[in-house]
């Protein structure tokens, strides 16, 4: 088995988020590092929202990719790192574009003191209203566009 850490990172980076399948764990900034120590693959990830159930599915997908790359269960180490805490500022530009294309308004930046306004991902109107700060997944708020009247999700700043 000859695989470099870079190649492995590319493959792991392509793992999709199970609840937002348009974006990968690389886009989201969930994948922090990939190291090879002798025969072992050491992967470090960070959770988005603390209770996000997608993390378990992501770990399973990571194991599967590593398995296919020839790593047995005894040679796989997945560590969860909480520090520094994940922030929506960790989402890459590519990830933000993909979210917008999927109809989810990307989070504003910087997450601590967001600037700018959210616009409707469908008609781009700035006339939008928040229906609820809590949406279908922990990371999203429910919005509605007052121009095209379509409801949409907004990725919450964290």
């Amino acid at each position: 088995m000859v695989i470099t850490a870079e190649e492995l990172r590319l493959r792991l980076g392509a793992v999709p988020d199970p609840e937002l399948p348009w974006v990968t764990i690389e886009d989201l900034g969930v994948l922090r590092s990939v190291f090879l120590h002798d025969e072992r693959a050491v992967v470090e990830i960070t959770p988005t929202w603390s209770g996000c159930p997608a993390m378990d599915a992501i770990c399973d997908s990571i194991r599967q990719v590593l398995n296919e790359a020839g790593f047995g269960p005894e040679n796989i180490e997945i560590n969860t790192n909480y520090s520094p805490a994940w922030s929506t500022d960790d989402i890459t530009d590519a990830g933000r574009h993909k979210l917008a294309r999927a109809g989810i308004a990307p989070p504003r930046r910087p997450a601590e003191h967001p600037r700018g306004a959210t616009s409707c991902p469908r008609c781009l109107s700035g006339g939008v209203r928040q229906v609820s700060e809590f949406g279908a997944t922990p990371c999203k708020a429910l919005m509605v566009c007052q121009s095209c009247l379509e409801p949409f999700d907004r990725f919450k700043e964290l």
């Binding site: 209770g51 159930p53 909480y82 520094p84 805490a85 922030s87 964290l158």
Partner: protein
């Protein structure tokens, strides 16, 4: 789940503090979050509108996620081979160290929101303090928790204003909830044998020092909402030592029965 925070573990930092103290301290806060998550989950499919149902479920999930991080860390600190699930599912009522506030039944929506608001305001101060903890895994968990807590507190404080300044009936019910839950407030700020030495060591938060910011937050919201601070001197405590109100046993029976009936089962 392995908590890696940073390379420095908590154990090296515990000079002058008994080794089991940090375990107990982490467990206090894990239990608070676990029990309240369970209470909030009881609302699922019962809230007055779909958005609120989703909001309560989301908050429950955040608290559960936080409880899992803390329980996993506690299990690691204990080092006796117990897992986060063992700590959640195979401890009895006397071994749970949550605050009495969080185990109180949901009551009506006003009652749930008042309980939540009291807790959210407490959590904000707690995480603000623990973010500077000398114990890096605890500081890392605080760094995650604080951001979510701001969302929770905004949600519960907005509801308090809406209910307090709403109709006569919503105001009456909210004030009734405040008067009923007030007796559980002092416990949050009570000194105890675990928290205070850890606070002195720069690891924990001194419960007593969390009170001024909490008072300010509550006074501010109450005055906007037109709600009154009770002057009831009666208080109850004992949760941190495992002495609970009658309600916790029923909650645990429901939460744990599957694992107790079929130990180790998975789905």
């Amino acid at each position: 789940m392995v908590v890696t925070g940073t390379s420095e573990g908590g154990a090296d930092r515990l000079a002058g503090v008994p080794g089991s103290s940090l375990f107990r301290y982490v467990l206090y806060h894990a239990d608070d979050n676990l029990i309240l998550a369970q209470r909030l989950a009881e609302w699922i499919s019962r809230a007055h509108d779909l958005e609120e149902d989703i909001a309560l479920a989301n908050i429950a999930l955040d608290l559960l996620g936080r409880a899992r991080m803390l329980l996993a860390y506690a299990a690691q600190l204990e080092g006796k081979g117990r897992s986060e699930d063992d700590l959640a599912m195979f401890r009895s009522e006397r071994e749970f160290t949550n605050l009495l506030l969080v185990e109180q039944p949901n009551g009506d929506f006003a009652h749930t929101m008042v309980r939540q608001f009291f807790f959210d305001a407490y959590q904000l101060g707690l995480w603000k303090s623990l973010i500077r903890s000398a114990d890096s895994p605890l500081a890392a968990i605080a760094g995650k928790a604080i951001k979510e807590t701001r969302y929770h507190l905004r949600h519960s404080s907005h509801w308090l204003v809406r209910l307090g300044a709403g109709t006569t009936e919503s105001r009456r019910r909210t004030q009734r909830a405040i008067d009923g839950l007030w007796r559980f407030v002092p416990e949050m700020f009570e000194p105890d044998e675990v928290s205070d030495p850890l606070a002195d060591a720069g690891i924990g938060a001194c419960p007593n020092r969390l009170q001024p910011a909490w008072d300010l937050c509550v006074q501010d919201t109450f005055s906007t909402a037109g709600l009154l601070l009770p002057d009831d001197p009666f208080s109850r405590s004992g949760g941190r030592s495992g002495f609970h109100t009658e309600h916790l046993g029923y909650l645990l029976a429901e939460m744990q029965w599957m694992q107790r009936s079929y130990p180790g089962m998975q789905w």
